[in-house]
Symmetry: D2
Subunit: 337 residues, 4 copies
C-alpha cells in the first residue's frame, strides 16, 4: 500500500482525486492539503467523502512525506512546491500546467510569468500514458495533461504519426463548466452559463502550446491548430470536434483503423460510435469516433474533464509509477445517462 | 410620454426593466444609473439593449429628474436614495425590500440593520396591483413585491379572504437562479447549481414577514407560513407549490372558482391547468392552478421571477401611477417552450 | 461467485444495474434479457458497458437459470415472470411495483389491472434494508422499493416509529427525469422538460399506497400523506422536502438525533447538512437533513433515483440475500459536483 | 390590417409564430390549422396564447382564405398545400424546406422523395431578407430559410461576396433541442439530451445543399462546407462557430468591417462582441462576431432557432411582402439572461 497526499484538496480536481482514491486498493491518502479549509475535517468540507474518516486538512505542503503527492493547486503554485517534495523523496504528479512545457520561454509566454523551477522542467515527463507510458514508469515528476490536450492529442497523435493530416487542424471544443474550477466568476455564474454556449480563450488558449509541442514531437513537422473552446451548460464532460484535412486518399474508415490499432492495448481509449458524455463521466475513459461529413473525416473525442482529463488520469499515472496494473482502482464503468 | 430613470441598470432586474421599457409606448427611459459601469454606454454593457442608442450610465441618483424612477439597487440602498427623489418630485417604484414592511422593527429583524428612512415607510404602498390597485393609483412611493411574495400572495390572498384556509400553510418554492442576482457566489456557481436542487433560506427566509404581514391584513387572523425556497437549475421562473388545509368542505373545485372570481378583471393572472414556466417567461403573467392531491387541494403558482416577480410588475405599477391601461407595454405573450 | 441475470437490460434501471454489477466482486452477470434489443451484444447497445465482453441480449426469461435475477421490466411484466423463476430456484429481486403491495385490491386500484400472481404476494419481502434487513436475509422474492418511497420512508420511518409526527405529512418531491424511464414522452421531451418544473401525479401518485402501507406497519396508526412529485430539469437525483407537524415539544434537533440513532449501523444513510444531489449520484447513499423553517422541522431526503432509489438498492438487497457484507460492490464515493 | 393563417399551429414554429403575431399591429391571425388538435380552442392547447380568444384550430388548409398563410407543417406537406393556396390568392410564407432548393433533383436527393410541386419551385423566393430583400417584396411564395442556413449565410455571404474565403469552410453548429421539433424521439428525450453534446447529421445534413446553393449564387465559385450540427442542452438558441481560411492578408478586423458594412441598413443583424444566446431569444436578431484564434479569423453567429431562424424571420418576410417597415411587431429587445 503506497501512501499519498492530495494538495489542493478542496478544488474540483482535488475532490475528484479523493473520490477516486477513496476506493483505490493500493493507494492510501494519508494527507490532504487545502489552504482555504486548513484545520477542517475533510468529511465536514465534503460530506460525500466520509470514507476518509477523521482526516484533517492541513495548510501547506511542508509536512508532506508520503510516497506520492498529487498536486491540484492553483496555477503557478506547483513550481514552488515541487522542489522540496522531490528532495524529500516524494514522487509528484502535478495536475496543473507548471511542468507541461519543456521550454521556460514558452511557459512565460503562455502563463504570463517566469518559470520558477527551471531545474526540474527537463526531468518532468508528460503524463499522457497512451503516448508516453514507458517514460512515465520511472519518473519522479509527472506533468499530468490538461483536459483539452488529453482529448485532442488522443485523437490526433496517431493520425499525425501516420502523416494522415495536412495543414492546419481545427479543434472546436465543448466543455462543461467544472473545467473552469471552483471559484465563482461571471462567466461561470449559473444564470449566465446555463442559457448559452460561450466561446472563449481567443485569441490563443493557454493549452495550445502544450498541444502543438507534443504534436511536433510525433509528426514530420509542426501541426498548426485553430483551437476554440466553448463552455456548454453541462457540469462534467468535454467533447472535441476535430476537423483536419486528410492526406490524399485518407478517409474516415482508414482513420478509424489507425486509431483502433493505436489503442489496442490501451484499456481506457475506445474507438467506436459517436460517444455520449455520460459514458465517460467519473471514469478514466476517452471515447473516439470518426465520421464522414461533407466528404472529409471528422474526429470526435469525448472524456470527463475531471476524469481522463484530470484526476483519474493522474491515478493512472500513479499506477504506472508504482508498477501496478494501470487499471487499478479505475475499473468503474461509465453511466448510460 | 413620461420620462423614467432606472437605478441599478446593470443588475438582472435593472436589465429586465430596460428590456421591457425599450418597447413601452408611453415611458421613455432617459437616465440609467449603475455604480459598477458608470461612464459606459448602456449598449456596450448590454448589446441586446441597443434600442437605447447612446444612453450613458451614470454613477448615482443625484442627477435623476425624471417623472418616474425605478430602483433596482442592492438591498439597503433605496432608503438612502428615496428621500431626495421624492423631494425633487420624482415618483418612485422600488423593486427592493426597503419599503415593503410597514414596521421598522420588523425590517431591522429581517434585514439585520436599522431602517434609515422611517419617515416614508407609512406612505409607501405595497405594489401588488391585483390586491392594492386603488392605493397604487395615487402613490408617490411604491414598494414592488419580491418574486416569492408575489407568487404566494396571488395564490393565497383570495383564499385567506374567504376564510378557506385553516392553520399553517406550507409553501415549497422552486426558483431559477436569476433570483439570486448577478453577483457570482458559490451557491450560484454553475458547476454547483446545475446539478442539484438546493433548499435554502432556513430557518427563516427574509420574505416571510412580507408575506405574513400582507396576509394578516386580508384575513381574519394570522396565517402562519412554513416557507422553504429551493434553487432549481433554471435561469428564469418560479413555481410555488402551496399546501394548505382547507376549511371543512373546502375543495379544489371551490378554490378554483374563488381564484377565478378574484382575478376576473386582472389581465395578468390566469387560473387554469398546471402551468409551465415558459408561459410566464419575460411576461407579467402569473398562472395559478388548483389540483387535488391526497384528497386536499394544492395550489400551484408560476411566474417569471424577473417579470411579474420583479420588473414587469414594476412597469404595471408605473402604468397605474400614470393612469395608463395597466397592460401598456406588457402585451407580449409568453413562450410555449 | 454468484451468477445473476438482468431482465430489462436496456432500460435505465437495467443499465444502472449492469454498470454497478460490472465491478461487483461476488456477483457475475451471465445473462441479460431485453425484448427490444434481443440478439444484440450488450456492448453494442451500451458501449460504456464493454466490460461484459461479448454478452448477448436475449429475448425473454425462459432461459434464465442464474442464482439471482434482477427484474427491471416494464410495469406488470414481473408478475408473469416471477413464478417460473422461483420454481427454477432463481432468487428474484424485482425493481418494479408488482410485489410491493401486500393487498391485491390495493394493487388493482393503484395500477389499474388485476394482480396475476397473488400466490407470491404474501411471500414477497419489501426490500428497504434499513427497515427490513432481517426479513430480506432469507427471502426468495424481494420487492425493491421505488425511488420516492425509499427517500420518503427513510426520512419518516424513524419519526413515525417514535410517534414524533402528528396528522398529515406533506411530501414535495423533486425528481430528475430519468425516473420517468427511457421511453420518449411529451413530458420528458427535452424542449418541454428542460425549461420548467412540472408537478404531476395528481390526484394520487401510484407510489402513495406503497408509502402509507409501510408507514402503517411502523406507527401507532395511519400517517396520511399529501405527496406531490415534480419533474425538475436534472437527469439523476431526487430530493424530498418533507413537512410534518411535530408532536408537542418535537423539534429539528430531536429529529436529527432520532434519525442518527436509527441509521447508526446503516452505512448508506447519513444524517447531516442539507445535501447536494451529486453526493448520491451513482451511489447507494441517502442523505438526510433536518432544518427548522418557520419554527417547525423540515426533513430533506436526497438520493439517486437510479441508485438507492433503484439499482444499487437492488444490489444491496442481493448482497444481503447472499450473506455478503451489504457494502460489497457499493463502496464508490459520490461526486462533489 | 392583413389577415393571416398559421398552418402547423401546434408545433414549435407554429407556436412561436402565433406568439409573435399575437402582438403584431398590422397582421391578424384569423385561422389556425392543426391536424393533431383540430377542433380544440387554441387557448386550451396553448394557454399562454389566450390573446387569441376563442379561435378554434381547424383540420386542414381547405378553408384558408386569408391574405397570408404561414406554413409550419411537417416536411413534405407544404408542396401539397401551396398550389391551392396560391390559386386562391393567398400569399405563402413556407417555414419548411419544400421550396428552398431550386433544383428538384437536389430536393429529391436531400429529402429522399420526389418534389410534388415543381411548377412553383422557380417562382419561390428564398426568404433571407438581408440578402434578397428586393426579390421578397413582390413575391407570392417565400421559402423561409432554416435556422442553420440563416446563421451560416448571414455570416458567410458578405465574406464570400468579397472573395475573402479560400477553400472549404468548417461550420460547427450548436443548437438547442427545440430545433428538432415537438415530436418526442430518443435523441431529444430529456434524460438523453440533457447530459451530453450530440453531434449528428453526418455524413451530410439536409441543410447543406441549401447553404451551398445560396453561396454559389453569391461568390466566384463553389464554397464547399463541412457542416456538423451538435445538439446542446439548451431549449432555444443556436451558435455557429465558423472556420474559414482567409485570402492572403485577410484578418479578423477586415472581416468585422465587411460584415458591419453589409448589415448597416439591416436592423436585425449586429456585428460586435462574442454574443450570448439570450440576447437573441424570442427575437429576430442575429449577432455576429469575428475573433482571431490561432492567427486566423473565426466567425460566431448566434440567433434563436425559433426566431430569426424560423418564426420571426417569417414575420419579417411578411412585413416586407405587405410593404410594412420590416421591424413591425418585431421590436422587442432580447434577454440579458
Amino acid at each position: 500500500m503506497a501512501t499519498a497526499a492530495v494538495l489542493g484538496a478542496s478544488g474540483y480536481l482535488g475532490g475528484e482525486l479523493l473520490r477516486v482514491l477513496s476506493s483505490h486498493p493500493e493507494i492510501e491518502v494519508t494527507q490532504a492539503v487545502s489552504k482555504s479549509h486548513a484545520g477542517a475535517r475533510l468529511r465536514d468540507v465534503a460530506p460525500q467523502l466520509d470514507r476518509f474518516g477523521d482526516l484533517v486538512l492541513t495548510a501547506n505542503a511542508e509536512g508532506v512525506d508520503t510516497d506520492l503527492a498529487f498536486l491540484a493547486q492553483p496555477a503557478g503554485e506547483a513550481m514552488t512546491t515541487v522542489p522540496a517534495l522531490l528532495e524529500r523523496g516524494v514522487r509528484v504528479i502535478d495536475l496543473g500546467a507548471d511542468y507541461r512545457l519543456k521550454d521556460p520561454e514558452a511557459y512565460a509566454l503562455a502563463y504570463g510569468r517566469p518559470h520558477e523551477d527551471v531545474d526540474h522542467l527537463a526531468e518532468a515527463v508528460y503524463g499522457l500514458p497512451e503516448l508516453f507510458r514507458d517514460e512515465i514508469r520511472g519518473a519522479r515528476l509527472v506533468a499530468n495533461p490538461g483536459c483539452y490536450p488529453t482529448a485532442t492529442l488522443l485523437a490526433l497523435a496517431p493520425l499525425v504519426r501516420h502523416h494522415e493530416v495536412v495543414g492546419t487542424v481545427v479543434v472546436d471544443a465543448k466543455s462543461g463548466t467544472s473545467g473552469a474550477g471552483a471559484t465563482p466568476t461571471p462567466s461561470s455564474h449559473h444564470a449566465e452559463a446555463a442559457g448559452t454556449v460561450l466561446p472563449y480563450g481567443t485569441p490563443t488558449h493557454r493549452h495550445v502550446p502544450e498541444m502543438t509541442s507534443i504534436l511536433a514531437r510525433l509528426g514530420p513537422g509542426p501541426t498548426p491548430l485553430v483551437f476554440v473552446p466553448h463552455l456548454v451548460p453541462l457540469v462534467r464532460g468535454l467533447l472535441c470536434s476535430i476537423y483536419a484535412t486528410p492526406r490524399p486518399g485518407g478517409d474516415a474508415a482508414g482513420w478509424t483503423e489507425i486509431l483502433q490499432d493505436a489503442y489496442r492495448s490501451s484499456p481506457f481509449v475506445s474507438v467506436g460510435p459517436v460517444p455520449r458524455l455520460p459514458w465517460a463521466s467519473g471514469t478514466n475513459r476517452c471515447y473516439l469516433a470518426v465520421q464522414s461529413a461533407g466528404g472529409v473525416p471528422v474526429v470526435f473525442s469525448a472524456l470527463d474533464n475531471l476524469g481522463k482529463g484530470g484526476a483519474t488520469q493522474a491515478v493512472q499515472n500513479a499506477n504506472i509509477l508504482l508498477g501496478l496494473d494501470e487499471r487499478t482502482g479505475l475499473r468503474a464503468s461509465g453511466f448510460g445517462i
